[in-house]
């Protein structure tokens, strides 16, 4: 199983290397292109110089080895647009996204488990059906639409939350007013977190509900009911514990999957995470930065999936 992840990692790194080199066109074709009029080009010796500088005159294999070498030393290149090292940009932005993802997934999981348990409690009654339908509709709404919706109502119209950003750009913070800093962070992060929570809530609800229903069909639940235990005790003490493994696995896999949604949500709220960094890189065609961000995201997702696999094995050894 570890072998599968290693192979996937090598595959991602190789694809990351190959993609810009498979692109049609040549980076040194024109120095600059004015609108249809004057095309300045590099001279022969300039082209040769730049080719050797970027290592593009060597064979593909040599370039690949150089790329892997740089990667091992933690050098992901220099961003074309920002002109600083890619690693420094990623290090500055990644904690924002990580915090966003962790907080929102934990909240989503807790809320989903709660709602799923409620749904099983009120099984076959009207409230269960209404909840089920609402959750299904909620799970179909894509994250950017939910984000735009929340942004309009809560930020623009009613002005409960700030419109964009991760922190107020004007205040100075230090250790003395760390409490105020934390409050600002929470205030700015509330809407993105809410959007991500709503996006994944349907999934957690459904899997909790299904898992609990399957557990309730087991024999030991009949025994518990026969013993005369209350519904609450049966649900929370006996059933939920046994229903937990798929939910936890889903939690870790969501940590991986939500990186994709985080790209869209950070774009809507202009939250300073790596999702927005990726979108900026796309808009400015900063390929070096784009590769770096993609590599970071892919590695994070792989790690989360690996954690999910290990955890599911540990929680329920019967799973093959």
């Amino acid at each position: 199983m570890i072998r599968r992840y290693v192979i996937t990692f090598v595959f991602i790194v190789t694809v990351n290397f190959l993609i810009p080199r498979l692109m049609p066109g040549d980076p040194f074709l024109y120095l600059s292109v004015e609108d249809g009029q004057v095309n300045t080009s590099f001279s022969e010796e300039q082209t040769a110089y730049y080719r050797s500088y970027y290592g593009l005159d060597q064979s593909l294999l040599n370039q690949y080895i150089r790329y892997i070498n740089n990667l091992m030393q933690g050098d992901l290149g220099t961003s074309i647009y920002h002109n600083v090292s890619v690693v420094s940009l990623l290090a500055a932005r990644f904690p924002w996204t990580l915090a966003l993802v962790l907080v929102s997934m934990t909240l989503s999981c807790l809320l989903g488990v709660l709602l799923g348990s409620l749904s099983v409690w009120f099984r076959n009654r009207r409230s269960d059906e209404i909840l089920y339908t609402t959750m299904i509709i909620l799970s179909e709404i894509p994250p950017y639409l939910a984000g735009a919706f929340l942004l309009y109502f809560m930020a623009a119209k009613w002005q409960w939350f700030p419109l964009s950003g991760g922190i107020s750009p004007f205040n100075e913070f230090s250790l003395s007013n760390a409490g105020a800093y934390l409050k600002e962070l929470l205030w700015y992060g509330a809407l993105p977190v809410t959007t991500l929570v709503l996006t994944r809530l349907g999934g957690f609800y459904l899997i909790t509900r299904n898992s609990l229903v399957m557990v309730f069909d087991k024999e030991y639940m009949k025994t518990a009911k026969g013993k005369g235990l209350t519904t609450a005790r049966r649900l929370f003490r006996h059933a939920l514990r046994n229903a937990l493994p798929p939910i936890l696995t889903r939690y870790f896999m969501s940590l991986g999957m939500v990186f994709g949604s985080a790209v869209l949500v950070e774009n809507v709220f202009r939250y300073p995470g790596i999702g927005r960094l990726m979108q900026e890189a796309v808009m400015t065609r900063d390929y070096v930065l784009l590769q770096g961000v993609f590599l970071l995201m892919a590695v994070s997702v792989l790690l989360m999936n690996l954690l999910a696999d290990l955890l599911s094995k540990k929680l329920d050894p019967r799973v093959s």
Binding site: T8, F11, I19, A148, G260, V282, L302
Partner: protein
Amino acid sequence: MAAKIKTIWHRFTLGGKVSLAIIIGIAAMWMLSPMVARHSHRIPSGPVLEAPSAVHWLGTDDLGIDLWAQLCHGAGASLQIGIGTALLAGVGGSLLGVLAGYHGGKLDQLIMGICDMMMVVPQLPSMIVLGAFFGAGRSNMIMIIAIFAWAAPARIVRSKIRSMKHDKYIVAASSYGAGFFHLLKTHFLPGILPLVVVNLMRIFSHAIVAEAGLAFIGLGDPIAKSWGMILNRSLNFPGIYFTAYWKWWVVAPVAFLISLMLALAMVGRDLERVVNRKR
């Protein structure tokens, strides 16, 4: 064949029937757009940012182009990409699944290995990277979304074929000398056809969502204005929320997108229910 379609239609819930009508309505909106939309979708035909009126049914955008005409034409872009991806990934993935399930051994391991990798890799960021590098024309979009979408149907079809392979009539047929193609045509296809149809629906809706998401970031085909592109332009308009323009410029594409997605999801669920019941 017609009888089968009739039974499926009868077994749909009311929600499923309404959703199917919505989908057909949107397709008609696109195909009949010269008749339904009186203005051009490319040329300004009225004042800028006009509210919905009798002349422009859904108002105009910031270039004065009629919004209803843009939506009609954009439906075509979204639907084409959706159908193209569904056919490519659905049929292609199912074919690969059949090959993997039937032959087994090394081919199976290879195909399933690639399948695993495609499912583990983060889909939206990869699509963004590929879209940024290879440009975002319509056929590029189809291929980019299909690269990640074929994994799920391949897996499902493969497990079905693997269980079918041991059925007595298949064993008997192959003992009479039935080759791969005969088995495929006569025996496998009726078994996997319901699965393939349900998967096609699912990939269709996933492709529309993915394409709208990519267009929202800015990686859409700028010529064929799909709904995601219209939304991108409207949400990037400075101060869109503090004016009244969002009421038609943002709400209209959002409403159409959400209704299409919900309709597709509903039809997909109903199809799945009907297909599984016949078993």
